[in-house]
């Protein structure tokens, strides 16, 4: 099958099935034309590393000429005037962007239900949530709409939907991938990363988008990420609350490996990750959204957004006003440092850490759950964001036919080690 034929097929699939799944918000009308150009390069032997791959982008990453709305009425008609650094890199390597993915509004959510344009359904189990906030990205991959998707992960927003949809999702180390052009949720925690059906495609994409970028001063130079043969490794298992059935599945999966030592580890404050995370997110989100005043583009955010976005804005405003006490934001920043140090200490004893991606099975779409319950979805993913380390979710198996993810965490900037274990488990 030629590349344009493949693209045509996937566009037809989106047209047919997206009405039900609601994973894609906008399709690139130039996709077929661009596919023909890439095909010419493939035939001439001059194509880039992503030639032949179709990609869907979370709707909070600026992609020139496409509507980038963050699944919010605030930016409903906002056409992006420039490419984020990750998009420029994808285009340079001849990746084809098929469209923009649905998501939780402004990445505020863990279920895929807070989009102003309707919830995304889980392609594996349509009655269940797909997870969030990169709901449309993970669902697009699971539904076969594209080969690879990009998401953003502030507290688990790539890994959580990857787990629920039975695909692979990567949160890179803080500083590995440029966030220039990402409409931020929380700048001190956000990372952009890939989602795909297999590890190789996520590795391919991560190698394309990583690297230092002058437009994002938090980025570093990095070496190519490779899968290596691990001789003998020690895997740490932290004590963290999760559904016992999920823990059993994870441990069973680890038993399939040879030459590994499993060690229980102590991360004394890991169970305070959620409490550390939200004060940071509320304040940084409040600050980051002040530009959405409706004067130069879009609408005023407080007048157009949904409940969860408003909660974070109002909470962030409240904290900012009370900040002279140093009670909230600075306290949370200091707690972040403590958790980060605990991980550094743990990685002196073990090579990698394995735990469930999500501590519970996904709820039914539309089922009412409390704010606290929703926030608790991310108890096992947030620690990696606070510690600024890489983490990935790979499928571990099924419980009641529902996909469950196994999460691997590695020391900062040691993605190769993480991918190497993932390949052993694939």
């Amino acid at each position: 099958m030629s590349f344009p034929e493949k693209v045509k097929k996937q566009l037809e699939l989106i047209k047919k099935e997206n009405k039900e799944i609601n994973a894609v918000l906008h399709v690139n009308s130039q996709a077929l034309k661009e596919a023909k150009e890439i095909e010419k390069k493939i035939k001439a032997g001059k194509a880039g590393k992503l030639a032949g791959k179709t990609i869907i982008i979370k709707s909070n990453i600026n992609t020139k000429g496409l509507v980038v709305c963050c699944a919010s009425k605030t930016l409903e008609n906002y056409t992006s005037p420039y490419d984020a650094t990750v998009i420029s890199k994808i285009r340079k390597e001849d990746g084809l962007i098929l469209g923009m993915a649905n998501m939780d509004e402004f990445a505020c959510g863990s279920s895929g239900e807070t989009s102003a344009f309707g919830p995304t359904k889980n392609p594996v189990k349509p009655e269940l949530i797909p997870g969030g906030s990169s709901s449309g990205s993970a669902a697009s991959v699971a539904a076969g709409f594209c080969d690879i998707a990009l998401g953003s992960d502030t507290g688990g927003s790539i890994r959580n939907p990857a787990s629920h949809c039975g695909v692979v999702g990567i949160k890179p180390s803080y500083g590995l991938v440029s966030r220039y052009g990402l409409i931020d949720l929380s700048m001190s925690l956000d990372q952009i990363g890939p989602i795909a059906k297999n590890i190789d495609d996520t590795l391919l994409m991560l190698n394309v988008i990583r690297g230092k970028d002058e437009n994002d001063p938090t980025t570093y130079e990095s070496d190519a990420i490779k899968v290596e043969k691990l001789k003998k490794i020690t895997i740490g298992i932290p004590k963290i609350d999760a559904d016992p059935k999920i823990w059993t599945l994870i441990k069973k999966k680890l038993q399939t490996l040879k030459n590994i030592e499993i060690k229980e580890i102590e991360l004394p404050h890991i169970n305070l990750a959620v409490q550390t995370y939200y004060p940071l997110v509320y304040v940084e989100f409040f600050s980051g959204t002040r530009k959405f005043d409706g004067r130069r583009y879009g609408k005023k955010i407080e007048e157009a957004c949904g409940e969860e976005v408003l909660r974070r804005i109002l909470g962030g405003k409240e904290i900012s006003q009370a900040e002279y006490h140093g009670k909230y934001y600075r306290k949370a920043l200091m707690a972040k440092q403590v958790i980060k140090k605990e991980f550094e200490k743990a990685f002196n004893q073990v090579d990698l850490i394995v735990l469930p991606t999500v501590p519970r099975l996904p709820h039914k779409l539309g089922q009412q759950i409390s704010v606290q319950e929703m926030y608790n979805y991310d108890t096992t993913t947030i620690p990696a964001n606070l510690a600024e380390i890489p983490a990935m979710s790979i499928p571990a198996g099924l419980i009641n036919k529902i996909p469950v993810g196994l999460q691997i965490m590695a020391p900062a900037m040691q993605e190769s080690k993480m991918f190497s274990l993932a390949k052993m488990l694939e």
Binding site: Q275, T276, G315, A332, M334
Partner: protein
Amino acid sequence: MDEGKIKQQAKDIIDNFVSALEKIETTEQLVERKEDRRHENIPREADPDFHKIMFENAPNKKGDCILAEKGKWTK
């Protein structure tokens, strides 16, 4: 949406979270990064499409200006 209720809920959540953090013993550390600063002196090429698209996005325009001020300035 009841804005007052949401605001109170947000405050309660944060108070609850921060009281849990009181248990953590911490000392403040400041990190100042001197390297990796942006080179503002290197000129960038302007993209003519940027101007065109941003003007299409803007709700209020006058000639070659986007009217982003509030109140009487817009009149």
